[in-house]
């Protein structure tokens, strides 16, 4: 077990490093930051001097290692090209907003996904199951941002019940979190359903039934508890889905979170900020996967032998 965790930990670190490297090369080297930072009328000589002072004339690997050293030792991604504030500070400022939105969305999604998935599995091959799986299919075809806009049009414009942007109060969170929740709902529902089906087919469920336990007792005490195991691990793995959805949702609702900052920064070529967010997202995803893997390994010893 210890060996497995250590191995996965090393893998996770390697993945994070690789992501930081790719994004570094992708962002910093295919464009010339000097041109972005200096006024357009700067002389060629000035550009050279500037490059030298910023270390932009050195070999790319050295540049990356310097960058990495700064990030690891001081959390320094450099200053934002636009606002001249340290990129890390800009990013940290936005984390709570995204966190709030994501948590509420996950809560909403699972509050629906778990009962729906369970009903669908238990009542397999019935009308209810068909309707629920069809609903999931429709949900998966729904473009997240269009759904958000339609919510705005219906509830914000036509009915006038809810505010369509801003983040001042809880009311403002309703539409964005429904949007993001709807994005997660079909996937989670399908996972609950297939996890539940897996469990229902196990011997101990048949034994429990054979013992003459009430169907409800069997379902809740035996089946559901075990079906939740894959659910927990899958939630860890879904962080990348969630973060991707957050980027879009925040853009649609002008929600002042990380995702919107990322989109704005990419548009403006504010690469230190993009870099900081990419690395942060990657960390979240990798740590989520790692926890999910370790949790699964604890629960299911067969995995470790892999």
């Amino acid at each position: 077990m210890k060996a497995y965790i250590i191995r996965r930990l090393f893998q996770a670190i390697a993945v994070c490093l690789a992501i930081s490297m790719i994004s570094f090369f992708l962002l910093f080297l295919n464009s010339d930051p000097a041109l972005l930072l200096l006024p357009p009328e700067a002389e060629i000589g000035d550009i050279e001097i500037f490059k030298k002072s910023m270390g932009l004339d050195r070999p790319v690997l050295i540049q990356y290692l310097t960058f990495l050293k700064k990030v690891l030792l001081h959390g320094d991604f450099g200053n934002s090209f636009v606002s001249k504030i340290p990129a890390l500070d800009l990013m940290i400022e936005r984390i709570p907003a995204t966190l709030k939105l994501s948590l509420l969305a996950v809560l909403l999604a699972n509050a629906l996904a778990i009962p729906m998935g369970m009903i669908s599995a238990v009542k397999r091959y019935t009308l209810v199951d068909n309707l629920i799986t069809f609903f999931a299919l429709v949900g998966q075809a729904m473009p997240l941002y269009w759904f958000g806009i339609m919510l705005i049009i219906i509830f914000g414009v036509f009915l006038g019940w809810l505010p369509i942007s801003g983040s001042d109060s809880f009311v403002h969170m309703i539409l964005p979190s429904i949007t993001l929740g709807a994005w997660l709902l079909p996937v989670n529902m399908r996972l609950v359903r297939s996890g539940m089906l897996d469990v229902l087919n196990q011997d101990y469920i048949r034994t429990a039934r054979a013992k003459g336990l009430f169907e409800k007792t069997v379902m809740i005490k035996h089946a559901f508890k075990n079906a939740m195991i894959p659910m927990v691990t899958v939630t860890g793995m879904q962080l990348s889905l969630l973060l991707g959805g957050a980027v879009v949702t925040e853009t649609v609702f002008a929600w002042p979170g990380l995702g919107r900052l990322a989109v704005e920064s990419i548009r403006m070529g504010d690469y230190p900020v993009v870099q900081a967010i990419v690395v942060f997202f990657a960390l979240c995803v990798v740590i989520g996967n790692l926890l999910a893997d370790i949790l699964t390994a604890f629960i299911d010893p067969r995995i470790r032998l892999e």
Partner: protein, 302 residues
């Protein structure tokens, strides 16, 4: 939760579904698949025959008739069935031409994904060891990258154009195919017919392409259709965020982005292109489900 665990699940309910119910269920499945097929057929016709079907030139502006509502709403004219946009271009014509972009991007991007993903998956699964570790590491890295940020950054760096969008979607989307191919290759390479192919002195390439690949193809086909829908949604998303197809080319995502500015008054400008994206993605998914039922009855409704 892999396919193989799902496919071994027998009926859970104690009461067996009656034959009448089975027939009803078959019809339901068939009908959904057919709806999907009709939607896809409609898309293909629109894409191929856009010039013949579209009532107007999608680029033709008419300032006199700008922001007209669709004809079924008050103030709409029969001339422009789905109304006009902010510079007076016919929305219906732009949506019809937009089908082309969506399909081209969706299909080409998925082809790139399949070529990269399937080859890497075959090699990782067949050779195992260090090759597998290296390729699996690449997959983990790609999966750890939030797709949107990677694709957006890539497009921001290489510039937004049709080819670059296809490239960006293709180069970021292959890991799903590698995962599926790898797992199935590992299962197949120990199978007796592959061992037999080795004893018949066939080359590794022949074994991979003629013996293993055809047995993986059904899964790739099913995954591929679903991925086309995803690529279409992703293209429209990139365009929506301003890093996709550039104006004035009619792309659904970009039309949606333009319509968003008018969402408080002319709501249909955002609603209609979004509905087109939704409908096509739904059609492809329905068809994909039907294909899965046909090529592999075990995998149904996973």
């Amino acid at each position: 939760m892999s396919y193989e665990t799902i496919m071994t699940v027998p009926h859970i309910n104690q009461k067996k579904p009656s034959s009448l119910f089975k027939i009803l269920r078959k019809m339901w499945d068939l009908k959904l698949g057919m709806i999907g097929g009709v939607i896809i057929a409609g898309m293909l016709i629109c894409a191929v025959g856009a010039q013949l079907i579209a009532p107007f030139d999608p680029y033709e502006q008419d300032i006199m008739e700008r922001l007209l509502p669709p004809s079924f709403l008050e103030g709409g004219s029969a001339k422009h069935l789905l109304g006009t946009d902010s510079v007076g271009r016919d929305t219906l014509s732009r949506i019809i031409y937009g089908t082309r972009i969506s399909l081209i991007v969706g299909i080409s991007a998925v082809l790139i994904q399949v070529v990269i993903g399937v080859f890497l998956g075959l090699f990782a699964g067949y050779y195992g060891g260090k090759t597998d570790s290296a390729i699996s590491f690449m997959v983990n890295v790609m999966m750890g990258f939030p797709f949107i940020l990677l694709a957006m950054s890539l497009v921001a760096v290489i510039g937004p154009s049709l080819q670059n969008i296809i490239f960006a979607l293709g180069i970021t989307g292959w890991p799903v195919f590698t995962r599926v191919t790898r797992v199935e290759t590992i299962k197949l390479k120990e199978s007796e017919f592959v061992l037999c192919a080795k004893t018949l002195a066939f080359s590794t390439m022949r074994i991979l392409l003629k013996h293993i690949l055809p047995n993986i193809l059904p899964s790739i086909l099913v995954l591929g259709t679903v991925e086309i829908a995803r690529a279409i949604i992703r293209e429209s998303l990139l365009s929506f965020l301003g890093l996709g197809i550039q104006p004035p080319t009619p792309s659904w995502g970009m039309m949606l982005a333009e319509g968003r500015d008018y969402m408080l008054s002319e709501w249909w400008l955002a609603a209609l292109p979004g509905f087109a994206i939704f409908l096509s993605a739904l059609g492809i998914n329905l068809l994909g489900d039907a294909i899965r039922d046909i090529v592999d009855p075990h995998m149904r409704k996973s």
